[in-house]
């Protein structure tokens, strides 16, 4: 990935709260990582600095609130932090607007999860099976 490994772990953990596992895969198992990897190198290359800044700031929030890295938090704690970011209620200095960062993250995760497989996400067409979209005559 284009992000460093620590930021990537944060991204993965956050994505898996945006689309959590149930009977169907979570975001990362659903291919969101593969999708984002290619997008960061192409269409979203200009958004990489915003991702780096936002994910680093999310980590800083985790330290302030729970004194631990985001990835090690309980799911409920991760959700609480993400809700704060979504509402713009942050404690640390953010160089990207937190609400805009969160909306962007949610959108890109959904794209990777629900897109057509040529975009490298939606592994095994699991999200389409979940919603009942069956491609016909392609």
């Amino acid at each position: 990935m284009i992000l460093n490994s620590s930021l990537q772990s944060t991204l993965q953990a956050a994505a898996n709260r945006i689309i959590p596992a149930d009977d169907y895969p979570n975001a990362w198992e659903g291919g969101v990582g593969f999708y984002l990897e290619r997008q960061f190198a192409t269409d979203l290359s200009r958004s990489v600095p915003a991702y780096e800044a936002g994910l680093a700031a999310l980590e800083a929030e985790a330290r302030i609130h729970f004194d631990a890295p985001f990835v090690t938090l309980l799911e409920a704690q991760q959700d609480e932090l993400l809700r704060r970011v979504e509402a713009g209620e942050v404690q640390t200095e953010w160089s990207v607007p937190p609400r805009r960062f969160f909306a962007m993250l949610v959108q890109h995760v959904a794209e990777g999860y629900y897109c057509d497989p040529m975009n490298l996400g939606n592994v095994g067409l699991r999200s389409w099976q979940m919603v009942g979209f069956v491609p016909r005559c392609d």
Binding site: I18, P20, D22, V106, A110, Y114, M118, N119, R136, D138
Partner: protein, 547 residues
Amino acid sequence: MKTYDAVIVGAGAGGGIVAGVLAEAGHKVLLLERGPNLRYEDVGRDHLRSQRLSLYGHNAGPHIEGNPRVVVGADGQEHQVRPHQGGYNNNAACVGGGTRVYGAQAWRFMPQDFRMASLYGVPEGSSLADWPLSYDDLEPFYEQAEWELGCSGDAGAMVFHGPRRRGYPMPPLPETRKTVPLKRGAQALGWKTHPIPVLINSQPYDGRGACVGCNNCVGYACPTEAKNGTQNTLIPRALSTGNCELISEAMTERIETDARGNVTGVTYLIEENGALRREMVRSKVVVVSAGAIESARLLLNSSSNKHPHGLGNEHDQVGRNLQGHYYSGARAIIEEEIYDGIGPGITISTTQFNHGNAGVIGGAMLADDFLKPPIDFWHTSLPPDVPRWGSEGKRWMRDYYHRTLYVAGPVQEIPNPDGRVQVAPHVRDKFGIPVARLSGTTHAATLDVAEFMRERAEEWLRASGGTKIWSARHTLRLSGGQHQAGTCRMGDDPRTSVTDRFGRVHAHDNLFVADGSLHVTNGGFNPVLTIMALAFRSGQHIAQALS
């Protein structure tokens, strides 16, 4: 220099038809198209880059690099936007134009749609006007479009429409599961409904296949050639006469005029190995069919000493009255099974509210929607009070992707002369040509119509068993987009219109417009069949003039 009887700029809905009519009448035609000639595989099935959801680009052009426009926002500031970004108002750029990937709804306008000013009066500040021709004048050409391209529908059930001499050549597409509750709901309300007329083959037609109900119809190309655009009908017919030369990826730069101001031909540009090659051709007639925004841009960019403000623009009319459609409607959750995944997905409509609505001007047709890929649904179809993330957001997709109904319709807009296309001399595209600049809004009376139709949509969904129903109010904005029209309106008075009733630009003998630009008003219907009917009519007229 190469010489033709006619050069046609733009191989879309209007241009493709004029090319076919002229070539079959024996005239030598050059058809120039800025976009490529796309095969089915080129259009593909990308759910993030389609003409319906264009998050990172399009599948039918234009390319997102090198083709900017300037948009003046509500803040009065100019913004430079790329084709897939909000405000650009894209349609398409390829052989077939919008018809390469359209939804193919094939609506005739109603007789009243040609007489809006007489029927309703002209609201202050609007440029609402009657057409210089009537429904009856256009009726034979609607029929021609329906039969020559191939149209399915149930004419007998369309009781609010004007008289017609002939029905559709094919029966309507079959109903699907979601037709059932909507039909029931309309019956309970006492509303009349009917299938949606489509330029889609419900059975094999003219050597092309029947619809197989795939689920990527609108915004994509058809796997069986059942969807009839100009790219698989009139353009191949034109080419097979041997009289028509099609050059794709050829950008028309300007319309050329001589010292006396007469139109003599065009100049176009082709990109070759990273360099631009400029070609000039002569022709007896030039037909501008570049779509409502680009046609205005080309006329304005073709200024000369004789025409310092652009061609046809003596009275500052070119580019004004830009219209499209506000889509007004509502969504609902239905508890019964309504999904069967059979495309195209548009199955039922009512034209009960196109006219005769107390207190508002005109109205709109209402219909159900095309099937949506899941990511498109995620973007457009979740209720505002449902979280877009977490287990709840995921559960909503899982439970309601196949239980959400959408009914909406294209609101007849009230034109505003200040909603307009100009050129931005300081911003140029990859060919070095000044780009289109869009500013203004439609007339505010449009909002009342949109609001009225939103209420009707909610009413229909409630009567159809909708449990949760939601919709959003419209705010005033500029409109254009895929239904763009109005920028070179027809009329008898050169001070308030750009062309005569055949699309001939006032004060020119041999310069014509043939595309959505001609529409005086844009109906409460998708516009393409009217564009096609006008093109058949103008084409016949130009062919006679050339003979």
